[in-house]
């Protein structure tokens, strides 16, 4: 029990005396603060999941759900062999030859979309449900095939050119949206929770009681965020290009500039949100109020153009809209930074205004 008195304690005084003055980079306060930020983040499994894994799951899930299918082949039934032959010339129809009774049964149970029945004088009777789009499509395709087989010559020659280019699919639209959403979420949550938690636990007050330069504390958040950004953006883009072949048409340097600028703008917003809140509840309320509207209107999952024209100026002024529009322009249209100048301007404005306000309002204890 009294082992403390038993050891003739190494006097702190002597220990201090023999300490040489040489400080190494790793012992620099900013390096230590940044390391602490990274450690705290990496040791939080839930945060890791939401920042790194969740966006991938979301991209994979939505990418699968909305993937472009090959052109659909419609199933129809023909009651006579001749009719079946002429219908089979249409590649978009899958023709079965059935007895009249079997054909009607198949139509009723939805196994075929249409039945072609020969009637008097070489005419053809189509049986289908005209409220069913498949039935109507099948009717057009089948009738065209039957007429052409009977020798019809179309007065106007027509050709098809099919557009199924990468970059115009839903997944291509979605990935920049998810990337923007991820930049916003990780920056705002990352700043907000960590700062408010440190304030709530009086850890911030304790740090302020040391000679720590206060701007190092804020700077450490930005530095750690930028480091995590590399992993975060890299994983999502890597996954999107490898798994779905999402194109990266613009300059990669521009893309990185946009991600960094976006992330800094959101960090600044997160700092403002966290500048006064004393409890996690208050902070998370504020964060949700800030982010929720942007998730809806800023065009993460669908184009923000769907909202009425009167709202467009406001929507375009939101940081998430700006970042997503700029990312889409870069990745999908190969636009350069000059072409997304308005968006860059919006992000810069959010960055500066929020940061200045946050510094004015920030409560260190």
């Amino acid at each position: 029990m009294s082992d403390l008195t038993a050891t003739p304690g190494i006097g702190l005084r002597e220990a201090a005396a023999k300490q040489p003055g040489g400080a190494q980079l790793a012992d620099h306060a900013l390096v230590q603060l940044t390391l602490v930020r990274l450690r705290e983040f990496l040791r939080e499994p839930e945060a890791l999941f939401w920042v790194f894994v969740f966006p991938l799951i979301l991209a994979a899930g939505l990418g699968l759900a909305f993937r472009n299918r090959p052109p659909e082949v419609l199933k129809i039934a023909a009651v006579s062999p001749q009719l079946a032959d002429s219908l089979r010339r249409e590649k978009l129809l899958d023709v079965q030859q059935l007895s009249p009774a079997a054909a009607e049964d198949a139509l009723r149970t939805g196994k075929v979309a249409l039945i072609a029945v020969p009637s008097e004088g070489g005419a053809v009777l189509y049986q289908y449900d005209n409220t069913n789009p498949e039935g109507r499509t099948a009717r057009m395709l089948a009738d065209g095939a039957v007429q052409r087989a009977a020798g019809r010559v179309d007065p106007v020659a027509s050709r098809d050119r099919l557009l199924q280019e990468k970059g115009s699919r839903y997944i291509d639209f979605l990935v920049p949206g998810l990337l923007g959403m991820n930049l916003m979420g990780s920056a705002i949550w990352g700043m907000g929770f960590a700062i408010v938690d440190a304030r709530r636990k009086k850890l911030m007050k304790r740090l302020v009681a040391t000679p720590m330069p206060r701007h190092y504390y804020l700077l450490s958040f930005l530095l750690s965020r930028l480091m995590l950004l590399v992993i975060e953006v890299g994983m999502l883009l890597g996954f999107a290009t490898i798994a779905f072949g999402v194109p990266l048409r613009g300059s990669f340097v521009d893309l990185i500039v946009l991600c960094v600028l976006g992330s800094l703008a959101f960090c600044s917003l997160g700092l403002l949100i966290a500048s006064r809140a004393q409890t996690i509840e208050a902070a998370s309320g504020l964060m949700n109020v800030t982010m929720m509207p942007m998730w809806v209107v800023s065009g993460v999952f669908f184009s923000s153009q769907r909202f009425p024209d009167v709202l467009q100026p406001f929507i375009k002024a939101l940081p998430l809209t700006a970042v997503i529009d700029a990312l889409r322009a870069n990745m999908l249209q190969g636009g350069n930074l000059a072409q997304v100048a308005p968006q860059v301007g919006v992000l810069g404005a959010w960055l500066v205004v929020c940061f200045v306000l946050a510094l004015k309002l920030f409560r260190w204890r």
Binding site: G9, Q19, A29, R43
Partner: protein
Amino acid sequence: MRPAANQTALRLEHLRKTYKDVVAVDSLDLEVRTGECFGLLGPNGAGKTTTIEICEGLTTPDSGEVEVLGLGWNRHANELRQRLGIQLQETQLAEKLTVIETIRLFRSFFGRGPEPAEVIALVQLEEKQKSRVGQLSGGQKQRLALACALVGDPDLLFLDEPTTGLDPQARRQLWELIEQFKLDGRTILLTTHYMDEAERLCDRVAIMDHGKVISLGTPRELIASIGVEHMVEFSSGGHKLDAAPLRHLDGVRDVTRENGSVRMQVTELHRAVPALLEELDRQRVPLTELRTHSATLEDVFVVLTGRHLRDE
């Protein structure tokens, strides 16, 4: 480098701080000498923490003078922060960091000081240095907080309720550490609402109540100042007792009643106790409980204010 003994490490003059309509510190004067361990003793809400946080530069007083190590917070904040060791009342250090990581972080803020490993050895956390802060016991956390206060090799150490909430064994361990720092010649200002802590650790004690110092001196002086050496407490098990005659017994200074029991301030125990037994016998009141103890700082507080230190 270090100021010589008998100099003033800390001087407060006419210090005043109010929060809305509550006066937390009321024209307080205080002087702490270099090399001494000075205690601010008082109940919760006496203004101890406000006072110490003003000294630490964390709270600005409404009026009054603060001089720490001969310097002022207005002009020498950075230098002061380098030279002070601070332990706050309820800091929770980052739970996900290990002990050594926490110490390295705090060490990185100071221009001078011992190696992290040395500080850890000093507070006897060597075996825990790779453990997460969240896995430490209360006493270990408190020792880590102390280590964080020591990383800059401070000239003046502020400890705000260093043992509050700890079990007796952890408290004793922390006391032994603090005593070791005293031997090291460090100036310490600590606040506490435990009288035994103040008696054991402090060279001088200021008893605070309602933002004022109501008594100041060495623990011995303070106890002697109330002119009472012992306290006798007894209970008559619900029987009606006339307390008036007790006041006139030999060696008794004062008598107070306190939820069912009677408390006597006694100058001469060997005469007061037989006289008490005799008087109880005369009144035919049985004695169900009898306790005596030497007067403590707690009794000083009770005599001065009529209240206990830990009355909330």
